[in-house]
Symmetry: C2
Subunit: 221 residues, 2 copies
Amino acid sequence: MPETRGSFLLLSGGMDSTTLLWWMQAQGVDEIHTVAVDYGQRHRAELDCGARLSAEGGAQSHRVLQLDLTQLGGNPLTDADFAVPSANEDNQIGTVVPFRNMLFVTLSAALAETQGILDIYLSPVRDDHESYRDCRREFYDLLEKTLRLGATRHAEFRVHTPFVEMWKKEVVRVGIELGVPYARTHTCYEGIRPACGKCDACVERLAAFAANCTVDPLPYK
Amino acid sequence: MPETRGSFLLLSGGMDSTTLLWWMQAQGVDEIHTVAVDYGQRHRAELDCGARLSAEGGAQSHRVLQLDLTQLGGNPLTDADFAVPSANEDNQIGTVVPFRNMLFVTLSAALAETQGILDIYLSPVRDDHESYRDCRREFYDLLEKTLRLGATRHAEFRVHTPFVEMWKKEVVRVGIELGVPYARTHTCYEGIRPACGKCDACVERLAAFAANCTVDPLPYK
């Protein structure tokens, strides 16, 4: 049985996962390896951000896994023909790829198992609990149990979601204290720089900075 | 909320999943849609078998999903540079891609959810319980709960494994009674026709037919 050590972090290059990398470093988590998923997102800028922020945040390695979610059918996050919904709760369901987080965590766990890594970190936040059922801790508790039961060699997988009960504005507060370079994170669903400022993701992001009486350093149109 | 109907069957073109298709038809399961996963298997013959057997077994549709497991690193099922282990319990672990079944079921569930399908069938058998922890029913009970908790629109996913407590020889007995065209199923890890007769998969298959006092109709070297 190979030695187990190190942690995986699902790093998209967005605000929450980037803050989590800085938070993990501040907590003294050893040997952080970042993983991004190329799922066919419309905007490759997100993947570039992830790779740069991994290095800037001092991760040991960065890996991009391929998992084509475009084959699952029309979704505005992956399909250039779909309009991105503007910000409101009812439309947000349209940006959901079913089981996306579960697939990302499970694929990461498969890679982790081959490398003797048992700890997987990701950054769901409380704002997403209503629209995304797979962003709640009870879901990750069950997913963790399922991974432990299905693992081949190791059984003690841990799925860490330290921000799951925090609002995005609280995550930003943590990140500001830790010096997260928010100007280089990627959020906008439209994938443009300057960011659109109008899509659901931009509106949430701007609100999180406003709640901290701080100006988002990202340029907006 | 869209109407829900129909079932997915994970059909690899091997003995067990092909028998399951014939069994589902015999049980009167409505609207069976078969799903195969192109995970980078060394032998494309398996995918061809799946497509042909889907049509022959009267499925409504057949779909091949892409999920590259070769990126997870050296494994004899996906990597042409690796020797396939010959039949014995200790080596069988070498043919395991971690969480392969979990990834296949979850990816199918993601597609199923977009199509209003809630029932997913697959064919783990009792022979695999020892080597593959994700072939036991307790694992699928937990996976089913996890899918229900993480689903976006529907919550009542069902993961069916009707053969999970049956030995492969019992599955073959069922299949012989149902007239499954075993000569056209694919089993050999070496992916050759005539089959090698020596790899773990061939040895298990031959034993299952022998236990039924029947000759496997597949040609062997």
